[in-house]
Every structure is written in structure tokens, then in C-alpha cells.
């Protein structure tokens, strides 16, 4: 069976004010402190389009090579839910902002182009606050702070062929949005939300199978897990000769399965019609051109540049450029210390051990700055400390925010490079280990390694390994 997946991604735009009113969009403010008659859906209030949100939409559309339509139109989408104050959502339907784009993704070293069907703007809904579930709660309160926050919905074509591809698409998609500065990409806080349409069809067939919509996947990991579950569920059902129903299913992350929310018979009739309170939006070509000219370097372009400019392996370039903050970190550190591969190794093995790769804010706020990291690596390069000591120093820098030099000086971690002193230590070690010397004579070269270990131990790891190796070699050759 072929797996067919399409993703609908909702991204909260990083505009200062809401989609159709001037209220602030700050996350986490006191309930209903960022509201007005418009976003509370009061009688007589009217929407006015936020130009900045349209600009963000166009910026994104251009990054995905979409066609930005000359005119677009808002429409009302009707359904009753108490978090939506007008009981309709202002969205776009027949005339979206942009259509027909694509996003290239890489899975297992192979590149694939995923079509983007459309991109449109709409308003977010408020939030219900209650104890337990809405069904069992004694009361529910509505917080309209989120009501009217600009959302950008981007619908992919059903081009994704596996849960891994879906996750790769979402990662690449998110990276573009973050690079563009239009969304913070935070899935846990809900600034990026993803729904999926999943179906199976006989291998090679071009007809689509019964489509199931999956909602409520609030992390990259959950998107992949939910889709893996759903693909398995559908495959098992089809193998057992069961018929699938077109329905919406919710992913339950705790229990690890999807459950039916509503079937097609209960599907909403949204009764879309053009929003009469807003005139059709004409998109000025000169404006689009200006936005295009101002587009930043995007993840793919940056990856290509990293390969070219720094000679990094593909794996490093891919990983570093997925996060704008990480790529910026790398470039800042490389600016101080041009050994790109060394910097890259330390970022991937040490920095990402303490910071999540997709947490842009945490990377930008890291106590160990790119300059600090470069400073640490310089100490390795000039022989002041060993790589092993450097890893300990790194851990301390992450916590304290101090420079490497300060920690090394305070804790006396400077490498022992004094040859006569080291020669004395080596003599002692040789004297204490006649057995090892005997082995060495018999041709067991591993015995020399054991001696190096002893010497490092005797110097608390501070001995310069290059000097130790050279001196030991000289002494052993004389024995």
C-alpha cells in the first residue's frame, strides 16, 4: 500500500496587533486583557485588515514560490462554538492570498519536492478555560486574548509518502517560517499547529483512498507518532477487509492512539460566503516585488552556502541550518575561530546535548555565547587545555556564563607542557610499571597506551598529550 499524507499547518503570525483589530498579541497576558469590541464580536463592531499580517503572508508565499493572487477575499466560515465570539471565523475560501508553491525536503539523503496547494489568512479563536472536560465541568470561562490573532493556513498537496516525510516537511516548513520572522514556530505553545489528512491506496494507484483527518498533534514527535499509528490502523483495517470511514480523529498523545471525533455525516456545513464587511484585497505588484527583494536567506540556501563556504559535511550543514538560531550561532563562533568543522562538532555534540535544537529562543539566550565557545576551542587549539578538560569547562560555562579562560585560570586546569617536569613524571611511571615495559619489549604496543593513561592520571589530565607521546616514545626507544 502507498501512504498518502497531506498537511494543513496553522501558524500564528508574529504581528504586534491582531488580524482585524488593534489589540496586542502578547502570549500569556491576563485573561481578556487584550480584547476590544471587534475581537469580542460585539454587535456593531467591524473588522479592518492588518496590513502587516498580509505582508507576512506574502513573504511566506514567496518563500514557497507560490503565486500571490492579484486580489484575494475574506469569507465567513460558520460554526457554533463559544470560543469564537461571532460564531463565524473570518477566513479565506475561494480566493486565497496565494496558491501553487512547493517546499523541498530531504529524507535519508534524498530530496523531494512537496507541493503547496494554497496559503491563506484567517483569525484565531479564543480559549475555553474549565476544570476537566467541557462535558463534565460545572462552568467554562472564555478568554478572548487569542481571539483574532492572525493565523496563516498553508495546505500541502497530498504528496507526502510516509510519517517520516511528514515530519521532515513540518521541520523544513517551520524552519522557513522562523527564518522569515513570521512565526516563532513553537508547537507546544500552539503558535504552530498541524492537522493531517491520511489515506492508503494500492501501490501505484493514482486514486485516493478514504481520507481521515488527524488533529491535535502538538509536537514534531507527536506528528510522526500519530501518523505512524494511523497508517498502521488503516493498513490493519484494510487487511482485515474492513471499510474505512471518512472522519476526523483526535491524537491522544498519552495513550498513543487516534480516536474518532466526528464522521462525515456530522461534518459541518460552514456556509461560506464573502465577508461583506471587508472589500476584496488588491495586492499591489510593487509591494510584492519589494517584499521579494527583502526576503532573507532561507534554510536551503544557507545549507548550500555552508557546504560551499565552510566545507562542512552535508549532515552538519543540514542540522545546523534547520534552526536559524543554531546557524547564526555557528556563523558567529566561526567568525571568531575559522576551524568550521571543529566548531560544528562542538555545537552538535556538546551544545545540542544541553539545548533542544528546535528551541530558537533558548539557543539565542544560551549562557555560553558563540564567542565563549570559540574562546574555549582556542584554548584547545593553542594547547592550553586538553579536549577532555575542555568538555568539563564547557559544562561549567553553560551554567555560569563565564569565559573559558576564567574557569581554566581559577581551577588551574592549564595543560602541563613543561618538558623537564613531564620527563620526570614519565620516569616515575616507567619505574613503577616494569611489567608494562616488559610487555612493550615483547612487541605489545598497547602497553604504551596504558603508560600514557598512567601519566595523564598522575597529572590530573593536565599533561599535554602530544608532548607526553613524544617524550614517552623517545624514552621507550632507548630502553
Amino acid at each position: 500500500m502507498d501512504v498518502v499524507i497531506g498537511l494543513e499547518v496553522h501558524a500564528q503570525l508574529l504581528t504586534r496587533s491582531k488580524m482585524f483589530c488593534g489589540c496586542a498579541t502578547t502570549f500569556g497576558a491576563a485573561p481578556n486583557s487584550q480584547t476590544c469590541p471587534v475581537c469580542q464580536g460585539m454587535p456593531g463592531s467591524l473588522p479592518v485588515v492588518n496590513r502587516r499580517a498580509v505582508e507576512f503572508g506574502i513573504r511566506t508565499a514567496l518563500a514557497f514560490n507560490c503565486r500571490v493572487n492579484e486580489a484575494c477575499r475574506f469569507a465567513r466560515k460558520h460554526y457554533y462554538y463559544p470560543d469564537m465570539p461571532k460564531n463565524f471565523q473570518i477566513s479565506q475560501y475561494e480566493e486565497p492570498l496565494a496558491e501553487d508553491g512547493a517546499l523541498e525536503i530531504d529524507v535519508d539523503g534524498a530530496s523531494r519536492t512537496i507541493g503547496i496547494q494554497r496559503l491563506h489568512l484567517e483569525e484565531d479563536v479564543g480559549k475555553l478555560v474549565h476544570e476537566g472536560t467541557l462535558e463534565t465541568a460545572q462552568a467554562s470561562l472564555v478568554d478572548f486574548n487569542r481571539s483574532g490573532v492572525p493565523l496563516m493556513e498553508t495546505v500541502s498537496r497530498p504528496d507526502l509518502r510516509s510519517p517520516e516525510e511528514a515530519a521532515a516537511y513540518l521541520r523544513a516548513f517551520r524552519a522557513v517560517l522562523v527564518y522569515l520572522g513570521v512565526c516563532d514556530g513553537n508547537m507546544e505553545e500552539g503558535s504552530l499547529r498541524c492537522d493531517a489528512n491520511v489515506s492508503l491506496r494500492p501501490r501505484g494507484s493514482s486514486e485516493l483512498g478514504t481520507k481521515v483527518e488527524i488533529k491535535n498533534m502538538n509536537s514534531f514527535k507527536n506528528v510522526q507518532r500519530a501518523l505512524e499509528f494511523e497508517v498502521r490502523r488503516q493498513a490493519e483495517a484494510l487487511e482485515a477487509g474492513l471499510r474505512l470511514v471518512q472522519e476526523t480523529r483526535l491524537w491522544d498523545a498519552e495513550r498513543g492512539y487516534t480516536r474518532s471525533m466526528r464522521s462525515k455525516e456530522f461534518a459541518h456545513d460552514y456556509r461560506y460566503f464573502p465577508e461583506p464587511d471587508l472589500v476584496p484585497l488588491r495586492i499591489d505588484r510593487a509591494w510584492v516585488d519589494a517584499i521579494r527583494a527583502g526576503l532573507p536567506e532561507l534554510p536551503r540556501q544557507r545549507r548550500q552556502r555552508f557546504l560551499r563556504q565552510y566545507g562542512l559535511p552535508a549532515y552538519d550543514a543540514e542540522l545546523l541550518t534547520h534552526s536559524q538560531a543554531l546557524a547564526d550561532y555557528f556563523e558567529a563562533a566561526t567568525g571568531e575561530l575559522p576551524q568550521a568543522k571543529l566548531v560544528s562538532n562542538w555545537i552538535m555534540s556538546e551544545l545540542l546535548r544541553v539545548l533542544p535544537a528546535d528551541d530558537e529562543a533558548a539557543i539565542r539566550a544560551a549562557k555560553i555565547t558563540p564567542r565563549h565557545l570559540a574562546g574555549l576551542l582556542k584554548l584547545i587549539e593553542d594547547g592550553t587545555i586538553s579536549g577532555k578538560i575542555a568538555k568539563d569547562v564547557f559544562q561549567k560555562m553553560v551554567v555560569s556564563g563565564e569565559e573559558a579562560r576564567a574557569i581554566v585560570a581559577r581551577e588551574g586546569l592549564t595543560q602541563l607542557a613543561d618538558e623537564p617536569a613531564l620527563a620526570a613524571v614519565i620516569d616515575q611511571v616507567i619505574a613503577r610499571n616494569p611489567k608494562a615495559i616488559e610487555d612493550f619489549r615483547k612487541g605489545k604496543t598497547a602497553a604504551a597506551k596504558a603508560l600514557v593513561g598512567q601519566i595523564m592520571k598522575a597529572t590530573q589530565g593536565k599533561a599535554n598529550p602530544a608532548i607526553v607521546n613524544r617524550l614517552l616514545e623517545e624514552k621507550l626507544s632507548k630502553i
Binding site: 469590541p37 460585539m42 454587535p43 456593531g44 467591524l46 457554533y80 463559544p82 465570539p85 460566503f273 464587511d277
Partner: protein
């Protein structure tokens, strides 16, 4: 004093013959004496009015009045939001709703010094042509209390006609300013769509809703429009065009104007007295130097049917927000959300509103959208083209405002016959063209008849100019009803 038009009141204030407070008190006294019988007001804002009048007094005393509307006592239809004053739309579902903001139109009149006397009665959510569908009480026609004042803005229209306000504001979605103006023998003006901000007008049919003035004469209508007109950053459908000097346009007369009389506005079953009065009015205009020719607006008969697709469709959407969750009525005791909203809406909306919500929900449903709403929009374009063609030849359309004079309470029980009352009014709403109704005579029973002018988009100056010339050449505005107290 309660017969005086606003522009004359302002002169009297300037000369020190009377004060805004004296006039406001006179109006309040008249409301107290007569409104029990008339039912024009849903809320009388006595304290607020006296405070505003006192502030106006002070400005006149200081020699710094704000303009010709300073100290003008007005009645506002209760569909317009007023900060701190309950705004019901004539509906139980909004009975306790107190908006935290003013409609832009009201804010602008307030800034020009106008004094709000209170909020006028109306058909629930502006759906009706008689003000009998107010959830609270019917309004009576001051010329004959057994008859309706028209609707849906019957309250403020009756108030202005009966001397319970010097002027007022109504809204016109399918004739709701002009038809009551005709029935009550006053001037009612529906400006071009987008000329006056709709911000704070509780929406019925968003693409059809207009705010406009009721006035004793055309000069007052021009002054009220001038104070409200102009772009508003809170209404995206407002037009940016500069606001012309409406008052200056009035005195130019009709000499040389080309007037078109549409054949389709004289229909079978129309009251012969209305037809006679309108044809006489056309003769008067010709006598004043206008040229008159017949024009054809063939889609007129489809306009009403189309209106009853578009207006309910938009209404079904606009009224979805009244669910008992946020403001207004909430019926207690429901076991869940859906039941709370259903019971609130069942109890809060009247029969006509429910009828239109159902109609509108139906025409927007999947599978019916193209057949109804999609098609209605196409007809709307055709109606617009009819007028464009006519305006290639003439400057203004002159026509009857209604097929008949004010009818009796309870006379039109069948919704369709009620709807037919607006057959001449609806095309101007569908096209957004400016239109005005001015008194043009009385029936044998002494009931007023309205003459309608329809102008080109944003050409209120020509519209007002013709209406003013006709008004000045005829005696109708001097006749006032006497309401038995």
C-alpha cells in the same frame, strides 16, 4: 419651538432667543406627555440630554458653538450603539446590552454638539416595515394613531414627525429610513453606501445597511449628513472620497437638471392617490426648469426577490453571535452549551427574525448557495447596470417612495404583502446609490405621501439640491400632525 428645524434653532441660539437647555427641556416634556401614546422611544436619556444641553449652552454663551448642530436634540434608532446606554435593536435577546462604545455616526454628531434625547423604537433587528415587530411595543403614526409609522426605523421617524425630536438617525437596509419618512411626512435620506461609517451599527445585512438622517426639511438632512460623512478607519467599506459641502449645494435649483421617471415604479395595485401626487410633483419639478424623461429600470421587479435572498443570508450570519454566551439574554437551566444557545435564541428572537435566519441559513447551505446567493449577486449586478444605463441619460431618478400610504396596525399579516411595501425602496439599497424621500402631498384621509429621488453614487449634492428645490416650491413641510395627548 418643537416645530422648528435644526438650522433655525441654531440661529435662535446664536441670537440668544432661546437655549439648548430650554429646547431640550421642551422636547423632554413633550416626550413625557405624548410618547405613551406614540411609542417612539425605547429609552429616554433625560439626564444625559440635559448635561449635553448645558454644555452646549455654555459654548453659545462663550461665543464658541461647534456649528449648526450644536444643541440640536436628536432621536437615534436603537440599532446604533451608544456608550453606556442600552442598545436593544428592538429585541429581547439584547435587552440588557450596554455597549462600551459609540457608533462612529453618533460620536461625530456628539462632537458637533448634538444632544441625544433617547433611543428610538424599531422592528426587531431592523427587520420589518411597520415597527410592529419591535419586541417591546409598536410605534404609532402621529398622523393617525391607528396606523403604522413605517419601519423599521419607525420610532425616530415618528418622533421627528410628532415633534418629539428635532431630527434623528435611522438605518436603511431595504427602505427603513425612506419608507417611514414617507409614512410620517418628513425627510429621510439614505446616503451612498460607504459615505457614512457603519461602525457601531448593529449589523442586519452588512452589504445593504446604511445610516442616514431623519429631518424636518432638506437643509437639516444636509447638515446631519455633513456631520457624519467621511472615511472611518474602523470601517473598511467606507469610501475615501472627500466630503462635499452639502449645504452649499442646496440653493442651486433644478434648472437644467435631467430627471428620469422610471416606468417600472408605477405598478398595478398602487394607490392612485400616491401616483397622482408623484406625477404632480414631477410637474412641479418640470415647472422649476428641470427636464423630465421616461427611463426604464427593467430589473426593478427582480430586485425585491433578490433582496430577500441577500439580506437574510447576511442576517443569518450576523445574528449567529447572539448565543447567550457573551452579552444580552441567556436562558438559564440548560444542561449544556447547545441547549443554552438554542433556548436563548428561541426565547430571544421574534418570529420575523427567526423566519429570516432560517431563510438565510437555507440559501447559504451547501448545494443551494449557487442557486440562491450566487444568483442573487448576479442579479444585483444587473440592477446596478440598469441604473448605470439610466444615469448615462439623466442626473437623477424621480419616483414614488412607496406604493401606498401608511397602513393600519395589523393590516399586513402576510409577510409577503409587508415585503412588497419596500419594492421601490430596495433598489437603492441593492446598488448603494443615495436616495431621499421628501413629502409630496397628502391622501384624502390626510396621510403623507413621499417622493423619492435616487442619485448617482456619491452625488448627494445633486440629490439634496433637487429635493430642496421641490420642498421650497411646495407647502407640504409646513403641515404638522397634532398628536392627541
Amino acid at each position: 419651538m418643537t416645530d422648528t428645524p435644526i438650522h433655525e434653532l441654531a440661529d435662535a441660539y446664536l441670537r440668544g432667543e432661546t437655549t439648548p437647555t430650554a429646547v431640550t427641556e421642551a422636547y423632554l416634556a413633550r416626550i413625557a406627555r405624548l410618547d405613551d401614546r406614540l411609542g417612539a422611544y425605547l429609552t429616554v436619556t433625560r439626564e444625559q440630554a440635559l448635561r449635553a444641553a448645558a454644555a452646549s449652552d455654555a459654548r453659545y454663551r462663550a461665543g464658541t458653538p461647534l456649528g449648526p448642530l450644536d444643541g440640536a436634540p436628536l432621536a437615534y434608532k436603537d440599532v446604533l450603539c451608544t456608550r453606556g446606554v442600552r442598545t436593544t435593536c428592538g429585541s429581547r435577546i439584547l435587552e440588557g446590552f450596554v455597549p462600551p462604545y459609540d457608533a462612529t455616526a453618533i460620536e461625530r454628531l456628539g462632537a458637533a454638539g448634538a444632544v441625544m434625547l433617547g433611543k428610538g423604537n424599531m422592528d426587531e433587528f431592523a427587520m420589518g416595515s411597520s415597527t410592529e415587530y419591535s419586541a417591546f411595543k409598536p410605534t404609532r403614526n402621529p398622523w393617525d394613531l391607528a396606523r403604522v409609522p413605517g419601519g423599521s426605523s419607525g420610532g425616530p421617524a415618528a418622533a421627528v414627525a410628532a415633534g418629539l425630536a428635532a431630527g434623528g438617525l435611522g438605518t436603511d437596509t431595504g427602505g427603513s429610513i425612506r419608507q417611514p419618512a414617507a409614512f410620517c411626512g418628513i425627510v429621510g435620506l439614505k446616503p451612498t453606501y460607504g459615505r457614512v461609517s457603519r461602525y457601531g451599527l448593529v449589523a442586519f445585512g452588512s452589504s445593504l445597511d446604511h445610516i442616514g438622517p431623519f429631518a424636518r426639511d432638506v437643509t437639516d438632512a444636509a447638515l446631519l449628513l455633513a456631520a457624519m460623512a467621511g472615511a472611518d478607519p474602523r470601517d473598511a467599506t467606507c469610501v475615501e472620497a472627500p466630503v462635499p459641502d452639502y449645504a452649499a449645494a442646496l440653493a442651486r435649483g433644478v434648472r437644467g437638471l435631467r430627471l428620469g421617471v422610471p416606468d417600472e415604479y408605477f405598478i398595478d395595485g398602487m394607490d392612485p392617490e400616491v401616483e397622482r401626487a408623484v406625477r404632480d410633483a414631477v410637474d412641479v419639478l418640470r415647472g422649476l426648469g428641470a427636464t423630465v424623461e421616461r427611463v426604464s429600470l427593467p430589473t426593478t421587479r427582480h430586485a425585491l426577490a433578490t433582496y430577500y435572498v441577500i439580506a437574510p443570508a447576511e442576517a443569518s450570519s450576523n445574528l449567529a453571535r447572539y448565543d447567550g454566551v457573551k452579552y444580552g439574554l441567556r436562558v438559564a437551566g440548560a444542561k449544556d452549551l447547545i441547549e443554552m444557545s438554542s433556548r436563548t435564541r428561541a426565547a430571544g428572537f421574534g418570529a420575523e427574525v427567526k423566519r429570516r435566519i432560517m431563510l438565510g441559513t437555507y440559501v447559504l447551505s451547501a448545494g443551494y448557495y449557487e442557486a440562491y446567493y450566487g444568483r442573487a449577486q448576479k442579479v444585483r449586478t444587473l440592477v446596478r447596470r440598469d441604473f448605470e444605463a439610466a444615469f448615462g441619460r439623466v442626473d437623477l431618478i424621480v419616483a414614488p417612495m412607496t406604493p401606498n400610504v401608511a397602513f393600519k396596525h395589523g393590516e399586513k399579516e402576510d409577510p409577503l404583502s409587508m415585503y412588497l411595501n419596500d419594492v421601490f425602496a430596495v433598489p437603492a439599497d441593492m446598488t448603494g446609490l443615495p436616495a431621499i424621500s421628501v413629502p409630496c402631498g397628502f391622501s384624502a384621509e390626510g396621510l403623507p405621501i413621499g417622493l423619492q429621488f435616487i442619485g448617482k453614487a456619491l452625488d448627494e449634492p445633486t440629490l439634496l439640491r433637487a429635493a430642496h428645490a421641490y420642498e421650497q416650491a411646495t407647502p407640504w413641510r409646513t403641515r404638522r400632525p397634532s398628536v392627541p395627548s
